[in-house]
């Protein structure tokens, strides 16, 4: 995939646009093609972190819940280089 270099201004502009078009706007009663999972795919494609999108937050929360609490090293292994959550 080709990496696209963006200026901070471009990225901000895109963030503002994406937040509105995907996360705001009226919903009638049709089928909304972009589901929560779909939003996640879009963001992977954009290679941007737009963390203010509610849907993205929900995806992240759901993934964290699925993973369970962060794993900590057993007692006595602190400093042994066994990274938590690894």
């Amino acid at each position: 995939m080709t990496e696209v270099t963006r200026t901070a201004e471009d990225q901000l502009s895109l963030t503002e646009l994406v937040n509105r078009v995907l996360d705001k706007g009226a919903v009638i009663s049709g089928d909304v093609v972009i589901s929560v999972g779909g939003v996640d795919l879009i963001y992977l494609g954009l290679r941007l972190v737009v963390s203010s999108v509610e849907s993205m937050r929900e995806v992240t929360s759901a993934e964290r819940l699925a993973q369970g609490p962060p794993r900590l090293p057993p007692r006595g292994e602190a400093g042994a280089g066994a990274g938590a959550g690894a």
């Binding site: 646009l17 937040n19 009226a26 009638i28 779909g38 954009l46 993205m56 400093g79």
Partner: protein, 231 residues
């Protein structure tokens, strides 16, 4: 043929000739009951879910805006089996659409993003691959403190914004920026005749922040179709 819907407008508002929507499909009018129309296009066989498609959607909605008509923007990706299904769905909620069109007429949305005051502090407080539980909890506590400070600072600046421009804002929304860098995102609904005064008020706030909170940034965007005021 399945269709994609972009926005709802009064019947007098027609799409400009040659206007294309997602996938390059021609935008046309679907007449719903009770003097409402929807701008829509045939849906591509496989709707792309990328930046280009988002820009195409927004391009259609933005084309519906002028000094007199402010469209009701629809969220990206709403499809219907055919024109009749879309018309029926819109007509079922006609009172809501009419009320929104009346409320939004003559207004545009502007974005105000308040950020910057906690980015440096937040940079090193993500709970990393901690080497002990104590380190992990300490990192969580630092991140929480940074987030709380950022939120409080954002609220303070938002209050300054409201004090300078409150009379120029017909409606507003406010939500925190997700993540530990904090900040606030505001959306203002502003009448066209008040836009210049609103901009001047925002620039005055920016000037005040240079002295008062030099790390803070007040980033403005717009005019936008009123995506944030139609939910």
């Amino acid at each position: 043929v399945a269709i994609l819907a972009y926005c709802i407008v009064p019947p007098r508002k027609l799409p400009p000739p040659g206007l294309a929507g997602c996938g390059g499909a021609a935008v046309r009018v679907i007449e719903a009951a009770d003097a409402l129309v929807c701008w829509a296009s045939d849906s591509p066989p496989a709707l792309r879910r990328d930046e280009a498609a988002i820009r195409e959607h927004h391009g259609v909605v933005a084309s519906a805006m002028d000094d007199e008509v402010t469209p009701v923007p629809l969220r990206f990706g709403q499809s219907f089996p055919d024109d009749d299904a879309a018309a029926t769905a819109i007509a079922a909620d006609a009172r809501r659409w009419h009320a929104l069109l009346r409320h939004l007429a003559g207004h545009a949305e502007f974005g105000v993003r308040i950020v910057g005051f906690a980015e440096d502090a937040a940079r090193d407080v993500h709970p990393p691959a901690a080497e002990s539980g104590r380190e992990y909890m300490a990192a969580l506590a630092r991140r929480q403190a940074v987030t709380q400070h950022a939120f409080a600072e954002g609220e303070r600046i938002a209050a300054l914004v409201r004090s300078r421009a409150g009379g120029l804002i017909a409606e507003s929304t406010q939500e925190p920026v997700r993540g530990s860098q904090g900040g606030l995102v505001m959306a203002h609904l502003v009448a066209w005749q008040d836009v210049e005064a609103w901009r001047a008020a925002m620039h005055a706030v920016q000037d005040a922040l240079r002295l008062d909170a030099p790390d803070a940034r007040l980033l403005l965007s717009g005019p936008w179709p009123p995506y944030s005021f139609v939910a």
